[in-house]
Amino acid sequence: MVGTPVLFVAIPLLAAFLIPLLGMIWKELVRIVPGLVLMYLMVLSINLLNHVLVSGPIVEVIAGWAPPFGINLVFSAFSGFLVTLMIFLGLVVWLYSYRFKRNVGFEPAKKYFLLLMMLITGAVGIVLTGDIFNMFVFIEITGISGYGLTAFYTGRDSAEASFKYLMLGSIASTLLLLAIMILYSQLGTLNMAEIASKIHTVNPTYKVISLILFISALGIEAEIFPLNGWAPDAYAEAPGPVGAAFAGIVVKASVYAIIRYIFTIFDISGAYSFLIIIGMMTLIIAETAAIRQDKLKRMLAYSSIGQMGLVLVAFGFGTEEGVFAALFLMLNHAIIKSLLFLSGSYLVYNSKDKKIVEVNGMHKFLPITSFLFALGAFAIVGLPPFAGFWSKLSVLTAAADSHMLFVLALVLIVSVIELVYYLRVVNRIYFFKKGENVDPKKPTFNALLAMIVLGALILVIGFYPDVITGVIHKASADLMDKTKYINDVLSIKQ
Amino acid sequence: MVNDKHSQKIVDFIQNWSRKHSIWVLAYGTGCGAIEIPPTMTSRYDAERLGVRGAATPRQADVLMITGYLTVKTLKRVIRVYEQMQDPKYVIGFGSCTINGGMYYDSYNTINVLDKYLPVDVYINGCMPRPEAVLSGFAQLQKRIAEGRADGATQYKENLEWYRANQKRIIPNWVMPEYNW
């Protein structure tokens, strides 16, 4: 064994606080160290994931207190898969934002990477932890670093977006704490496995109220309609790579939390259909809002929200197929939407308003970026043979197998809407005349590399999805097996 | 067989006979005389019983009827129409104006003698000629055709230069396709 799950939380946290110190030694270290850390974690997570897939989950106990008293980290196939994905995206975002815009300066870069590492710490922590209060803490860490990153640009609008995020985030933390306390007052424990094993003893009313509060609180982070007022603003005003990080990391972690609560901790069957309802609402509202956007990043933000709604719908089927589809969709969405955010922010690099009309004719100046954006657009709407198709197919198959034909039809109709607005943008990039006062900037090498990696992944998964589906199958099986989770955690005796 | 003299004669006879009895008139209403054509064709005088019939375009027509005075402006069109007609073709000068200018003999704007510009086979005099006169003119033409004497077109071809010179004298800016068949 090369490492333990605790490293995923400890190392980035440590790195985050070391960054200002290292910056005093050599300014470039501020940029290099996060990359090194993330690379190490990448290797580690892949190793661990391989190990986990073969020989079962690793449960790590912190500070020597065995569950249910102490805090434990669980690196199972499911959480390991998400952690790997997040670390990978963190790496891509790091690579991309090595010297992105304000990052060129030392001071901003210091703050930026500090916050980024915190963000990753928080998100990874959410996924790994086995303790609901600990999860709350990680959610808050993610949240605070998210506020900071949203407000990274010193402009007027980024502060506004950040404030909105913060306001809703505060309400979310209140609701979450309330929910935790209700559970705690009923069961006297904070350990997930313990709660899961005892949940049937709780008065159903408390149970449901607690679940509702959980879903509402986490739904704010997971961009569920109507709790997602902050999301479009934050996506649009945060730096491009941060948008990618939000779409790929933060939201994934929040969705993970919701799923964990519904699938593992609570035993309320109605929650699944509730997931479908809110997922569908999110999907429809977000996509219809996206089609009328005139700002690129805002459009991408709404699209991202919609995709997360689809993920929730897929989870809501409650079948293993559905979970598989949802995980696959999360993976694809993370890759593709990150690519769209990354390439999109170069398409409107020097623009003030980030208007869609400003991408007109960009392919002549940014051929590769434009191509990658187009690739991402084609992939996200689910055109074969790109990655998005397979996940969409699995979602639809799962829907059909659950006999949710109405959902199936709605998802497909919404896909048409999605198609329209993405194609409009791609058409503009390739076939319109460039505006007068648009000043394109060539992407730097590292940014290009980051985008190309994502693009290549889209093609690879598109042409040969088997590279990844095995892992996802195991992960989804892992999530579905509730008793195994409880046993794994509670059997640890220190 | 065609070279055979007798058969050639027979063929000529048949041709002339059919030409005689089938006269398609391009009624080109140049002047006031055009008003006399309808009575000629309709039920009272019924020129169709002689095989006379209106033709719509010069390509189909046998006879060009110059109905009355010819202004300088129309002369050009008339020449054009005449040259577009296919052999064998005939011209009938209709009314006094085509013979000597008639009442317009001193007009600055009309031609006086049609024969200078187009080879006229038959003149019909009168101002206006009544339909009876027109019919007699057709009969005259038929007679000439049957005798093989209606050869205005041949003369026109042979004396093209003379005709052209006359025409060009009247029409100042001559832009017309060359007549070469």
Binding site: V137, R156, I171, Q293 | -
Partner: protein, 125 residues
């Protein structure tokens, strides 16, 4: 203390805590000044913290410290330590959030020249 009285008092504490939360929520939702909104959020958190501590209280319990006095004393009841630990953490986090919020308010004021939340609506639709 009488048991029923304790219960009543308990409800009173809960009710007060919830009332504080609602006051905070009201402030956050209705007041137009950004600062008041931030204050409202803080108040709401305080109310929540109060609620949590109240939930953890046991009748006649002492502070959850394994001290000499506790081990030797007659009162062997100890209030639940976990909520208190949670509240401590929550207070810290709340502090951080409030700090970030205030700094954002400063920036917003600098850019907009106002603290009226209705006027800070550049991002919409």
């Amino acid at each position: 203390m009488d048991s029923s009285l304790f219960q009543l008092l308990n409800y009173g504490v809960y009710g007060t805590a919830i009332l504080v939360m609602l006051i905070g929520l009201y402030g956050a939702l209705v007041k137009k000044s950004l600062l008041k909104v931030v204050i409202g959020l803080s108040v709401m958190e305080s109310g929540l913290n109060l609620l949590i501590v109240a939930l953890g209280y046991l009748k006649g319990g002492t502070a959850p410290i394994f001290s000499e006095g506790f081990l030797n004393g007659s009162n062997k009841i100890m209030v639940d330590p976990v909520p208190q630990a949670l509240v401590l953490t929550a207070i810290v986090i709340g502090f951080g959030v409030t700090a970030v919020a205030l700094s954002l308010v400063i920036r917003l004021y600098r850019h907009h020249g106002t603290l009226n939340i209705d006027e800070i609506r550049n991002l919409k639709w």
